[in-house]
């Protein structure tokens, strides 16, 4: 049942991706509306799948990468849906939906292989949950900031080239994309910081030491360091526009490498 729910979620996200791309390619608005509805349906089914997963395998399996990736994808979709309430953000949906699809397929495939997700690290009650939830939320927001940065660079490149494409008119304005970057960084970075603190406390509860070591911890701290630099540049040095977009995209790339690298090493 868990695998089926994940597959259903993946199918809905894939359909949302197709609808969002059609919405960008075609002038008629229905495809865009369908994409929004599908993304919403996907988020609901995803939440059901996640709840079932939580109920099915005690202790909660949040502390391994497939489950965490699935949760990040869900949070990114929810954040994207909230943003879509405020304006024409089909372009963002066209990027978030396929990534969510990949994350859910990854989690579903692991479920199919292993029957249920085994905890990859010892679970330790509230701190472990808090750490994973905060880190997932922070990474989801920063991931959306990176995708918004990608859209910004694409749209700005077309504007600067003096050959604005038809699909560019259906992208969010540069102003909105820049605002997403600010909001995501302003909320995502503190969440990531709290995730680091919760992780350290989890380690102390478990081992009596604040520094547990390991690839996962190094990756998380490196990602935190990169985002600390980005937040400083954005809010301290006043970066915005192209600089902020490019750095958010680089940060997102680093985040993916850190997460996948830690999993590979583990």
């Amino acid at each position: 049942m868990l695998v089926e729910l994940h597959l259903l979620t993946a199918a809905v996200y894939l359909a949302a991706t197709v609808a969002a791309l059609l919405g960008l390619a075609l002038p008629a608005p229905p495809a865009g509306r369908v994409a929004s509805v599908l993304l919403l349906v996907g988020a609901v089914v995803h939440a059901v799948a996640f709840t079932s997963l939580h109920a099915a395998t005690p202790p909660p399996p949040l502390t391994n990468l497939p489950a965490a990736a699935s949760m990040m994808a869900w949070m990114a979709v929810v954040f994207c849906l909230l943003l879509m309430l405020r304006g024409r953000l089909l372009g963002l949906a066209a990027l978030v939906a396929p990534l969510a699809f990949v994350a859910v397929v990854f989690a579903g495939e692991r479920l199919a292989l292993q029957g249920a997700l085994p905890p990859s690290a010892p679970a330790a009650g509230a701190w472990a949950h808090l750490h994973v939830i905060l880190a997932s939320a922070g990474f989801a927001l920063l991931g959306v900031a990176g995708l918004a940065g990608l859209l910004f660079l694409a749209a700005e490149g077309r504007l600067k080239s003096k050959r604005p494409a038809a699909w560019g008119r259906r992208l969010p304005s540069l102003e909105v994309l820049d605002r997403i970057n600010v909001v995501a960084l302003a909320v995502g970075f503190p969440l990531l910081t709290l995730a680091v603190v919760a992780g350290l406390l989890w380690s102390r509860t478990l081992t009596g030491r604040l520094w547990p070591g390991g690839a996962h911890v190094i990756g998380l701290l490196a990602a935190w360091g990169v985002y600390a630099g980005l937040a400083g540049a954005r809010f301290g040095a006043g970066w915005r526009g192209r600089e902020a977009a490019a750095s958010a995209l680089v940060g997102f790339g680093f985040l993916l490498v850190a997460l996948l690298g830690a999993e590979f090493v583990a």
Binding site: A155, K160, R163, P164, A166, P172, S173, G238, R240, E243
Partner: protein, 442 residues
């Protein structure tokens, strides 16, 4: 019933020719047009790019002559066309499905000088309203125009024919919306003046642009422009400070070298914490140093850039007309089907009248012979009515369905023969006077 369209447009007649045919009060002309026997219904469309009459008639040749005379005598006053243009070259004519297609293409702006322009639909609606007011519209043109409006809506929403702007002013608005989410609360700086820059400013204000500041070399000119645009007047020495406070900058001022350079914009960007600036430079020679475009957060478009975007957009619109034509063709076929089916109406009415006359006659005779009371008579009345309706249901439904196709019109003839509708001695023929004989097209 036939549909006939006669007219001229920007492709067949130059502006001086079209001017001669412009109609200020179409209602009065239409009233006169439909009082004759040749034309049953008519709509007159008169815009700066076309003058057309679409009419329905049972006498096609007579209507053709009447409409040509209408153009030559009533509209052109009997004078020959200017520039030696012949009437054959100036006037075009479309009949039946060709006329329907033309009306749908005009409504959808496929036939416009600027493909996809939105004004034509409003003008067509005005023309239709004038025809309705003049009581010149009947069943067919009412339906034709409503289908034309629906087709235009479909074409606009399902193709990109009207999606991308093709005028410099609208391109400026479109670009601004790709930079800023909204122009509400945004401020503009107008440096210099000129027709094109003022059109662009008006278009941006139409989208909600906020405060406008005007800077000019001569204070008097700045004050005059500021009064016109409800703006504040400034001198060119304030440019640095004004740039820092402006989201949109429009320039068109004389001078042999750029007035605004990269250093000026660097300072402005720093002062406004790198919020973006959209610059429209329509000056010739250019007022803004092209190096400014290299700065992050400045989006500079000069006249060539804007015209290039407008040209590319126009080309895109032309490409979209292929899809629009397919939609129009589907709608034409649908309307053609309805029009064919309409030809069945007099025969169906005739058939019902005959059946009803027979039923009533037999009922009257039978009731008096049997000596029925009122209640029994009412029962018999309901019974016979139900029988007639059930008997006629299948042939009438089939007639309606078949006559939606041109080939199905043979069913009409067959029905008339089988039910002897054209035989004045057939039972029930006394009712023919109530419905009248169906008119035949010439």
């Amino acid at each position: 019933m036939r549909i006939l369209l006669v007219g001229l447009n920007h492709r067949t007649a130059s502006l001086p020719v079209r001017e001669r045919f412009a109609v200020a009060d179409p209602a009065a002309r239409l009233e006169k047009l439909v009082t004759g026997e040749e034309i049953e219904e008519a709509v007159l469309l008169s815009t700066c790019n076309r003058v057309e009459v679409v009419a329905t008639t049972r006498r096609l040749e007579a209507a053709r002559h009447r409409l040509r005379a209408f153009f030559a005598r009533d509209l052109a006053g009997g004078r020959p066309l200017p520039d030696g243009l012949s009437w054959e070259a100036a006037l075009y004519e479309y009949v039946d499905s060709h006329a329907i297609r033309h009306v749908f293409r005009v409504a959808s702006s496929i036939d416009s000088m600027v493909v996809g322009e939105p004004q034509i639909l409003g003008q067509l609606k005005d023309a239709y309203r004038a025809a309705v007011d003049a009581e010149a519209c009947g069943v067919i043109l009412n339906r034709l125009f409503h289908r034309a409006f629906a087709t235009a809506k479909r074409v606009r929403s399902e193709t990109g024919i009207a999606e991308r702007p093709v005028s410099v002013a609208r391109v400026a608005v479109d670009l601004s919306r790709q930079i800023f989410e909204t122009l509400r609360g945004k401020t503009a700086l107008l440096v210099g003046a000129g027709e094109m820059i003022e059109m662009a400013l008006e278009a941006l204000r139409g989208e909600g642009l906020g405060a406008v500041r005007v800077a000019n070399r001569t204070p008097a000119h700045a004050t005059e422009l500021a009064a016109r645009f409800d703006a504040t007047a400034h001198g060119l020495h304030e440019l640095s400070e004004l740039l820092a406070r402006s989201d949109v900058v429009l320039t068109s001022i004389g001078g042999d070298r750029p007035l605004l350079d990269a250093t000026l914009f660097e300072h402005a960007l720093h002062a406004r914490r790198r919020r973006p600036i959209f610059v429209i430079d329509i000056g010739l020679p250019r007022n803004v140093d092209p190096d400014v475009d290299r700065l992050d957060g400045v989006y500079l478009y000069d006249l060539d850039d804007l015209a290039g975007v407008a040209r590319a957009n126009a080309e895109d619109r032309r490409r979209e007309t292929v899809r629009a034509e397919a939609l129009v063709q589907a709608e034409v076929e649908r309307f053609d089907g309805w029009l064919s089916a309409l030809q069945a109406v007099p025969t169906i009415r005739h058939l019902r009248a005959r059946a009803e006359a027979i039923r009533r006659g037999e009922l009257t005779r039978g009731a008096s012979r049997l000596g029925l009371d009122d209640e029994q008579r009412q029962g018999l009345e309901a019974l016979t009515r139900a029988m007639v309706n059930k008997l006629l249901h299948a042939p009438i439904t089939r007639l309606r369905r078949e006559t939606e196709r041109e080939e199905g019109l043979a069913y009409l003839e067959a029905a008339r023969v089988l039910f002897a509708l054209d035989d004045p001695d057939a039972p029930g023929a006394q009712a023919d006077g109530e419905v009248g004989r169906p008119p035949r097209d010439e």
